[in-house]
Each structure stands twice: as structure tokens, then as C-alpha cells.
């Protein structure tokens, strides 16, 4: 079974919580376009990796059948709450935990009531999978895993999906340039923190748009350093691992600022 869809989406809660703020409306619309395309692809499972779910010891995989609750972001609590109701493909998640050994990683199941689901996963799930129809497999961002190992984990997960004859869509949740404004701003006038960040983001998105996997791979380390990219763009490594860097191009459904940092909704084409 092939990967039927691949998306890079923002994990910041701002566009979700304040959908009518002018600088953020295009991100909301972009997320909606991605949701529509995802639904048309009819995946059996969403393979999600969010930069904001941090692991330190083992690689963690959510294995609780249904995870419900109300989350409040530790930074942006003033804009509202994030309710969530996620359905997990437990069988596949458990198989991924076992499969981690094949890439030399120790992994653990996470099956606890009240476990703090991260903001990025919730935002992506609520936008892309609003009624929770598509079961999800969610993996943590282990801080000690480099981009290469993150790619291998995604490949292992896709292989696991294939073994279970499941149509999988892969979702990397995180931002682009990472500089946020450190003083309070009028959110109606939000913009990318600097021209150089904006330029770097656009260059990165251009490589995606043109389907230049080799160029993208080459540019990523420089980009990650210069633009203080979110977690070194490991969410992109996740998507590229699943695609094995093979894609013909990408639709950038949206690109815009989130309190100075860069965010984009990108859909990769076969």
C-alpha cells in the first residue's frame, strides 16, 4: 500500500483559537483545504508526528484507544481551550512500538488517562480530522533523535502500515522559522519576525513546490540553523522519511506568520 497523502502543518494553536484574525485566516483556509483533500484520499490511518510532543528517554507512541479531554496551551491560554477527542489505531501503534527495535530504538506504549496530549497534535487533529473519523498513530519527538533517525522511524511506521494493509496518510506537525516576537504585539498586525526568516521560509517552500527533494535535503541544515527552525524541522524529516524524499511537487495551501514565527500548510504530491 502506498502513502496516500503527505502533509506538513503548523502546530501553533493561534490560528485555531483566533480563526478570524486577519493575518491567520489564510492558515485556517489552508488547513481546511488540506482537510478536504485528506478526506478524499480516504486513508485508513493518519501517521502523526508533532514537534511539541517531547520525549527524552524512549520513543513514545500513544496506544490508548480513545483520548479525550480539554487542553490549555501553556503559552497561549488567554485565547481559549483546546478540546480533543482522538481515536487511536491501537493495533498499528503497538506494532510500531515493536518495530522500533528494527531501527535500534527503545520504545514504549503510552496508555494513560489524563496524559497531556500536546498542542500541535490537537490542532492538527481538530483541523484535519475534525470528527475523529480517521484513526491515528501518534509518535513523540525524542529530543535525542536526529533528523536521520526520525526519517527511519517514519519509514518503519509506513512499513508497519503496509504489513497491516492500511492506506496511510502522513502528517508532520510543526512550524517553519522559529523566532517569535518577545514583546506583546497587536495580533491583527502579525508578520514574520524578519525579512531574512521570510526569505528562508519562501526558499524552503519553493523547493517543496518544485518537487526538488535533493535540493530540499541539501538546504535543510542551513535553513534549520539560519531560521531557528522548529526542532530542526524534524516534522519534515518525518514526512520525507515516509515518502523516502520522493515527491513530484507540493501545494502550499497557506503560508503566514504566527506571532512572528513562520507557519505553512503544505500538501506533497506523488
Amino acid at each position: 500500500m502506498p502513502v496516500v497523502g503527505a502533509y506538513l502543518v503548523p502546530g501553533t494553536p493561534l490560528p485555531y483559537l483566533v480563526q478570524d484574525n486577519p493575518p491567520w485566516t489564510s492558515l485556517v483556509a489552508g488547513y481546511q483545504k488540506a482537510a478536504k483533500s485528506l478526506a478524499e484520499k480516504k486513508p485508513d490511518v493518519l501517521l502523526v508526528y508533532s514537534t511539541q510532543w517531547i520525549a527524552v528517554l524512549d520513543e513514545l507512541w500513544q496506544t490508548r484507544r480513545r483520548v479525550q479531554g480539554l487542553h490549555v496551551d501553556e503559552n497561549w491560554y488567554e485565547y481559549g481551550d483546546l478540546p480533543f477527542d482522538l481515536r487511536i489505531d491501537t493495533k498499528m501503534a503497538k506494532a510500531c512500538v515493536k518495530g522500533c527495535a528494527s531501527v535500534g530504538v527503545k520504545a514504549k506504549e503510552v496508555d494513560y488517562d489524563g496524559f497531556p496530549i500536546d498542542t500541535g497534535t490537537i490542532v492538527a487533529a481538530n483541523f484535519l480530522n475534525p470528527d475523529g473519523k480517521i484513526p491515528m498513530v501518534i509518535a513523540a519527538n525524542n529530543l535525542y533523535h536526529d533528523p536521520g533517525l526520525t526519517e527511519k522511524l517514519a519509514q518503519m511506521a509506513v512499513k508497519t502500515a503496509n504489513g497491516q494493509k492500511k492506506r496511510v496518510a502522513v502528517v508532520g506537525v510543526g512550524g517553519l522559522s522559529g523566532t517569535i516576537f518577545r514583546k506583546e504585539i497587536n495580533i491583527a498586525k502579525d508578520k514574520i519576525a524578519s525579512e531574512s526568516d521570510d526569505k528562508a521560509n519562501k526558499k524552503l517552500l519553493g523547493l517543496m513546490r518544485r518537487g526538488d527533494g535533493a535540493g530540499l535535503k541539501k538546504y535543510l541544515p542551513d535553513y534549520a540553523g539560519a531560521a531557528r527552525a522548529d526542532m530542526g524541522m524534524k516534522h519534515l524529516s518525518w514526512v520525507m522519511g515516509a515518502l523516502r524524499w520522493r515527491f513530484s511537487g507540493a501545494k502550499v495551501h497557506a503560508y503566514g506568520p504566527t506571532y512572528g514565527s513562520g507557519a505553512a500548510v503544505v500538501e506533497f504530491n506523488k
Binding site: 510532543w53 517531547i54 520525549a55 527524552v56 528517554l57 524512549d58 480539554l70 487542553h71 490549555v72 501553556e74 503559552n75 491560554y77 488567554e78 481551550d81 527503545k106 503510552v110 494513560y112 488517562d113 489524563g114 496524559f115 497531556p116 500536546d118 535525542y144 517569535i180 516576537f181 518577545r182 514583546k183 506583546e184 506571532y259
Partner: protein, 316 residues
């Protein structure tokens, strides 16, 4: 209203393992024990706190990390279940706490006056971070003293250690002013581990103490050097080597709680009382106390007359 005072400060680290080892009714997972040296250290700290009878406990926690300025809990009653994202197997704790909102607001206002970006957290659904909760449980498991919870702005990591810690220094001075103006007798808690090099795998039985040891010998030696200086009251010297300690021992004091606490206390050159030291998955943790009343830096006034604390209004 009498002028408020900081009567003591504690270095009060927050490994959730200590709560897990103790088996309090609030924590769902149960253990066979473990980390006794540190838990006994906290027992001694609890006894000191009981004698001090503060009006309020202020805690600065690295696990409420904020990007846009320094934040303060600003809802009078907060409750919920706190599950540690790294150790969900050890820490699933039902908490209920009362915030001294008036003092939190005063801290927020003073810090803003000092030029810091500040914010009051007013969302009643907010889940208090596990660092704050672990420190507060370990120092006062009765939960009967109001608290002020302060976030760790990410400036030491985002900017650099020096700039970040100079913000924490300002925050500490602002905290002191707010305490003085509101007339509180306060205890400040720095929720920080020392050397933060840790294991990369958890032992099969987490509380199997035959597996517990410092992860890094150089880091351990750093901890001993810092503790020895603190025991001798060489505060200036400690802050001189702090950046090097942070770099070489990956010390969690980088997040700012330790600097905030010392700044709030006025960097007293008095010997700290070491209640105990121990490692937790390899990291170095010391429970230490600076009693400013005993040192003659805060008055005894009112200490004997005050009740231990206001009782928490029990929520139904």
C-alpha cells in the same frame, strides 16, 4: 500593614520519582519505595517549613516554560490531574491548590515595572505543570499554604545564559518588592535539579535503587563543588562559576529558578543547610535551606502569633 519579608528559601528539586517513591494517596501509580535519601531530606525541609509558618510559598518551575515573558498563576483555585509527559508511569497526581492571586498580581506588576514582559494566567482550565506540583507536594504535602506559581521564561535558552539569568535576577528583585509591599511572610522555592545528565533508559523497576547512580562523574564533582560553596555561604563565588557549571554539568539551574530565588533573598552570604543529596535517573538533586530569620536577615515578628496557614476551602 507590616512590611512583608522573605523568611527563607529552599532549593527544592522536582523529580516526580520522589512523589512516586512516597506513595501519597493523590498519586495513582504505586511503588515499593526508592530515593529514600532525598525523601528523608525533604522530611527535614518539611519540618523546617512547619516551624516557619509562612503565609505563602512561591515557586519558579522550569516545566512551565513560556516564550512571551514571565507568567504568574492568577486563578484562585486550580485543580486537576497532572500526568508527567516524560514519566507518565510514575506520576499521575490529583492536585488542588489555592493561589495567592493578590501577591501574584503584585509580583507581575513589579516585574513589569522592572522592564520585564509579564502576564497573569487567568484561564481556570489551566493545568499546573508537574514541576510546580512535585516541588509543592514534597515541601508541603498538606497543601494548606497558598502559593504563587511563576513560569520559566525561555530566555536563558533562547537568548543566552547571561541575558536570560539577568532577567531572572530582575524577576527575583521584583518578587521581593511585591512581597514587602503586600505584607506577606514568604518562602521562595527554586524548583531545580543540579547536574542534569541523565540515563537514556529507565530501569525495568524504576525504584530499583541498585541501578541508581550519578550519570556523569564530572557532573557529580561539579555538584559537590557547588554544594560545598553553598554550605560555606560563598554565594558570590557560586554565581561567578554558575555559567560554567551550567555548561559543563548541563545544570537545570539554567532555567532560572535558582537565580530568581537568590536574587529575591538578596544573595545572602550565609551558609545553606543541606538536607540531603541524591541522584534520580542519574541527575543530581540537593534539598537545601536558607533560613533568613535564623541568619538575622528577616525578623521574627509575628512568626509566633500567626497560624500555620489558612485552611484551603475544600471544594465539593
Amino acid at each position: 500593614m507590616a512590611k512583608g519579608e522573605i523568611i527563607a528559601g529552599f532549593l527544592a528539586p522536582h523529580p516526580p520519582h520522589l512523589v512516586y517513591g512516597e506513595n501519597p494517596p493523590q498519586n495513582e501509580p504505586k511503588s515499593e519505595g526508592g530515593w529514600e535519601q532525598l525523601r528523608w531530606a525533604y522530611e527535614r525541609a518539611r519540618a523546617s517549613l512547619e516551624r516557619m509558618k509562612p503565609d505563602v510559598l512561591l515557586v519558579h518551575s522550569p516545566h512551565w516554560m513560556t516564550q512571551l515573558g514571565h507568567h504568574f498563576l492568577g486563578v484562585e483555585n486550580l485543580s486537576g490531574k497532572s500526568v508527567d509527559p516524560i514519566f507518565p508511569n510514575l506520576f499521575r497526581y490529583d492536585f488542588e491548590l489555592e493561589v495567592d492571586v493578590k501577591l501574584a498580581e503584585a509580583c507581575c506588576a513589579e516585574a513589569a515595572k522592572a522592564g520585564l514582559v509579564t502576564k497573569m494566567m487567568r484561564n481556570p482550565n489551566f493545568r499546573v505543570d508537574y514541576g510546580t506540583i512535585t516541588t509543592l507536594h514534597m515541601i508541603r504535602p498538606q497543601w494548606d499554604i497558598p502559593v504563587v506559581g511563576i513560569s520559566a521564561n525561555n530566555s536563558p535558552y533562547y537568548l543566552n545564559t547571561k541575558e536570560g539569568l539577568s532577567e531572572m535576577d530582575k524577576l527575583g528583585k521584583a518578587t521581593r518588592k511585591a512581597i514587602e509591599k503586600t505584607g506577606r511572610r514568604a518562602v521562595v522555592l527554586a524548583s531545580n535539579t543540579l547536574c542534569h545528565w541523565h540515563f537514556h533508559e529507565e530501569p525495568a523497576l524504576p525504584e530499583d535503587m541498585s541501578q541508581e547512580h550519578p550519570q556523569d562523574y564530572a557532573g557529580y564533582k561539579w555538584d559537590m563543588r557547588i554544594i560545598e560553596m553553598l554550605r560555606q555561604g560563598k554565594t558570590k563565588e557560586v554565581f561567578k562559576v554558575l555559567p560554567q557549571f551550567i555548561d559543563e554539568a548541563f545544570a537545570e539551574v539554567k532555567s532560572g529558578a535558582f537565580t530568581w530565588m537568590f536574587s529575591a533573598m538578596g544573595y545572602p552570604e550565609i551558609p545553606g543547610d543541606l538536607h540531603g543529596y541524591g541522584t534520580v535517573i542519574g541527575t543530581g538533586n540537593a534539598v537545601m535551606e536558607w533560613d533568613l530569620v535564623k541568619a538575622g536577615l528577616a525578623s521574627k515578628r509575628g512568626a509566633a502569633k500567626k497560624p500555620a496557614a489558612r485552611k484551603l476551602k475544600k471544594a465539593a
